[in-house]
Amino acid sequence: MKVPLQLSGLRLTYPGSATPTLDGLDLSVGAGSLTALLGPSGTGKTTLLKLIAGLLHPDAGDIRLGDRSLLPLPPERRKVVLVFQAALLFPHLTVAQNIGFGLRMQGLPTDVIARHTDAMLDRLHLTGLGARRPDALSGGQTQRVALARALILEPDLLLLDEPLSSLDPGLREAMRALIRSLQRELGVTTLVVTHDQAEAVALADSIALMQGGRIVQHATPEVIFARPATLAVARFFGGENVLPGQARGGVFESAIGRLPLPAGTADGPGSLTLRPEAVTLGPGADARAARVMECRFLGTQTRVELDLGGTRLVALVAPHLAGGLAVGQSVGVTLPPSALWFLRENPEAPPAVPE
């Protein structure tokens, strides 16, 4: 059953702490969607999961799953499963017993549990490992058992706390795909905590960015990349190009000159952001002249630092396009208007905006 999750006005201050960990947090997660909860470490992401799972109780606010509030329910009756970062398999139980744990707690007959467990083992490519002890598993297997142990309960809401952080890069890819496909297949509303934006982008339908105890933006990855709600969001997602300036009559006036803004942008001071990968190099109709300051090969991309009339600009381009560039060389730069995003917000250390 696909159920939406609605968090409203959640507040929590840990005893003895001066600042609230959650400060009026709102979030709604669509039924059957996979949302990544993203944010720097220490912002209370895990705390939020524990609140939803019922392991902590908020000072204020409400948590609704479907049409019911979860607050009065103890953890075991919420139909919410939290999978911890450290897989936390019970060391005294076998893999199969670990997976069947929740069903056993419900008092289901052994044969039913066994059937479900076997199905889960197959589904998570763990066939034949049922009799093993947790300490005899590899890292990837451990994570899959933890996931199986949660999914067997067919929860209304699945909470994953950094499920991939303990895995090697190669395994991460496979695990990410597995989570993605299982989630689609089962349609379980899922909230995944991560601090890795690439992972969030690759995994989630939508990303909720958490900062200062609140959700600062909740949108699809595309929107967050192209149209960040704040400068901080932009920076968090690798937005290096921030130009201070002034919007006036649909045009942004800055140190590098006038740039067209999307229609409907109101006048006033602010900043313009531009994804580095949106910058194109080479001659073109709207190209401006810039000088190459530095050029670094990063593997799949080349990072080019440019000086555009005294303003620093970063571009990420395909290596073959940057092949001939040398430091000090002059190059044409095009800033596509569709990639420009205006924020009514000044960067913290603004160079004086020329009027």
Binding site: P74, E76, R77, V83, F84, L88, F90, L93, G102
Partner: protein
């Protein structure tokens, strides 16, 4: 080569040293007339065993009583130690180190320091000469061991396992039974065994609180040991030691399956 032989000999010597005092006791228990300078008894006899096992001697009843007292002491001590060990191992709170010292104190302060005052206290309560009085007295030296073992065990235990179980639909009692207890079981068992052994070999507190009416094996053994009946002493000592050894052997087999060695607070 030579070093190997030497260290093998050293190990053999160690094994002999560890078993040494039990050997003459075993021989004495079947000896009749074993005087200097005979290396072995001139005559073997089961008289000491038949007396020790007869109802007259009270040894068998005493064995049961000693076991009962030790078992009850162990269960109570472990039950008290469980929440305390959890608090001490998991939580930081003002006064924690004071509590730790207090918990350790009965293990360090000799029984004699407790026995004198305790006798006066229990006399006034009417608890002397009763089995329960003796159990209460045994609790004092027994408590530190399970408490300290469980403190160490809980310090290593990740309580997220419990959260995880709650998330998987386990009720608090189910979490205790299916997750927490199994996880701390080796420590629980070690602590319980240590408490058992402390009570099992307690002499002075049993003498002062039991007032002779609660005749545990150490008291009985002491009476024979101070009466010059080496054969009876040997037989009673064997009856005393064998169950404990069997128990330890059992524990050892269990333990080799789980944790290879006890925690460092073991005694």
């Amino acid at each position: 080569m030579k070093r190997d032989v030497l260290s093998a000999l050293a190990r053999l010597a160690l094994a002999l040293f560890l078993l040494m005092p039990l050997i003459p006791l075993a021989i004495w228990s079947v000896a009749h007339g074993w005087r200097f300078p005979a290396l072995l008894p001139s005559e073997l006899s089961l008289a000491a065993w038949s007396y020790a096992l007869s109802p007259v001697s009270g040894v068998v009843g005493s064995l049961g009583l000693t076991f009962f007292i030790a078992a009850v002491t162990s269960v109570i001590a472990t039950a008290l130690a469980y929440p305390a060990g959890r608090a001490l191992g998991r939580l930081r709170f003002p006064g924690r180190s004071v509590v730790l010292v207090l918990v350790l104190a009965p293990a360090v302060l000799p029984a004699i320091a407790v026995a004198l005052g305790l006798q006066g206290l229990f006399l006034r309560m009417g608890w002397t000469g009763t089995i329960w009085g003796v159990v209460l007295a045994h609790l004092i030296p027994a408590l530190p061991y399970p408490t300290l073992v469980l403190t160490a065990v809980f310090a290593r235990f990740d309580p997220h396992h419990e959260d995880q179980a709650r998330c998987l639909g386990a009720r608090p009692l189910q979490v205790l039974l299916h997750v927490t207890l199994p996880a701390v079981l080796p420590g629980l068992r070690t602590g319980a065994v240590l408490a058992f052994l402390i009570s099992w070999s307690q002499y002075l507190l049993t003498l002062s609180i039991g007032g002779g009416k609660v005749q545990t094996l150490p008291l009985l053994l002491f009476t024979f040991a101070t009466s010059g009946r080496n054969d009876l002493t040997g037989a009673v000592a064997m009856i005393y030691v064998l169950p404990a050894l069997a128990f330890m052997a059992l524990l050892l087999r269990q333990r080799s399956k789980t944790a290879p060695l006890p925690n460092r607070t073991d005694r």
